[in-house]
Subunit: 245 residues, 2 copies
């Protein structure tokens, strides 16, 4: 935990925060914080700041918090991900939040097994805790929005363009000729589509292309879903933030 | 398994290969291959090719193999990694091989716990199997070379420049001003240093800088070791293979 992430309703008057949950235990046991120690804090979907420890006892930790004026920039990438195996997604949540994603759409596809959707890993309480863990690791505050869509066609036809009206749309494909360096990153946002382990079907790829997605390649290596998500998010983020000079 | 990886001594005369291990079971049970089916094959540290199934029975699979003339290009990146927790490294092996790394040096550092080195995860039989799994996933043939170095100072002072004589040397650091886009990728190779969870000490960073490493930044996010390895390897690989146009 490189950041103590606070919810707006953790705050009492004038920046006073009293914690008595896992965060209090972490501050006491791991950070071994005593009165006077200054901790990095952040407000969910808000600013970063500093919290001075006022008091620590067996149950609670009191912090006096001061926030920076500006919130950190929002992630510019959204992810359209064919629903992976639950055990893979379980490990991915924190990593996606740490890398920075605005919105995560978990989508059905022909090569997604139906039972993948019957998992506690898709319950909001479960994934929110994992996403927050990732934010606290990476010192970020922007909680990704999560959407689960069990029908590919209606989502692509009816919802996609409304959700991502101005984004560059990219679908990773080993056959893609376009490289990341060829993308015009002046657009405000990017939505990145990553297929299932067996790949999109030709029909799905055509549908995505008909709705504005361009194939792009990142080499001939076939990566596992979790490796591909991290590799492509990181690469795109770096190009978006530091385009060709 | 997107590729059946063969060892040079799997070959009999004239491209004939007879398998009776896990690979035979995979070809039989997962690929459900029958005589006449053509499979993607590769030779460890060698070429890719195709193997036509000649015969399948309960124990063995016979393949008639034809190799391409040229081997795939060798990975251009080497990794100098502060020894991570064994359970993290266990998951990383296959991913590193899939992303493509020439040489992996697992190095001690002040914030590495001593017991991290007492693990079966560092036994060659264990990691070679994981690395091959990653190569078979990604359809690559180049097996990373693995070195384990339990003393930081002698390694950096005496061995580093011999192992990486002509490489650009980069150490990831949140304070790094230089970005990937600023690196002059005309050099033949890059060696990437990634610190322990708690970071390099100032002494270690100075030592690395005194031996040619430049700090480079990839944003303020603090990533877990495994996420950082995948994110940085993928980003550097893309810039190396597709530099600014």
């Amino acid at each position: 935990m490189n950041l103590i992430l606070l919810q707006p309703d953790d705050f009492r008057d004038e920046g006073l925060v009293v914690l008595s949950d896992d965060r209090a235990r972490h501050i006491r046991k791991v950070l071994k914080a005593e009165p006077g120690k200054v901790l990095r804090i952040g407000v969910l979907n808000g600013s970063l700041g500093k919290g001075t420890v006022l008091a620590v006892d067996q149950q609670t930790v009191c912090l006096q918090c001061v926030l920076e004026e500006r919130a950190p920039p929002k992630p510019k990438i959204d992810l359209l991900l064919a629903m992976p195996r639950p055990k893979v997604l379980k490990r991915l949540w924190a990593q996606l939040a740490a890398l920075g994603v605005g919105r995560i759409v978990l989508l059905n596809a022909d090569k997604v097994e139906k039972f993948y959707f019957d998992t506690h890993v898709l319950e909001p309480d479960f994934y929110t805790a994992r996403l927050i863990e990732g934010l606290q690791q990476a010192r970020c505050t922007h909680l990704p929005e999560v959407l689960v869509r069990k029908r590919f066609k209606p989502f692509v036809e009816d919802e996609l363009n409304t959700l991502f009206p101005e984004s560059i749309k990219l679908v990773a494909d080993p056959a893609g000729e376009k490289r990341v360096a060829d993308v015009d990153f002046k657009a405000k946002r990017v939505v990145l589509a990553i297929g299932p382990e067996g790949g999109w079907t030709p029909y799905e790829l055509e549908m995505l292309q008909a709705h504005g997605f361009e194939l792009f390649g990142v080499g001939k290596r076939i990566l596992r879903t979790d490796t591909a998500c991290i590799a492509l998010l990181a690469t795109l983020t770096e190009y978006l933030n530091h385009p060709l000079r």
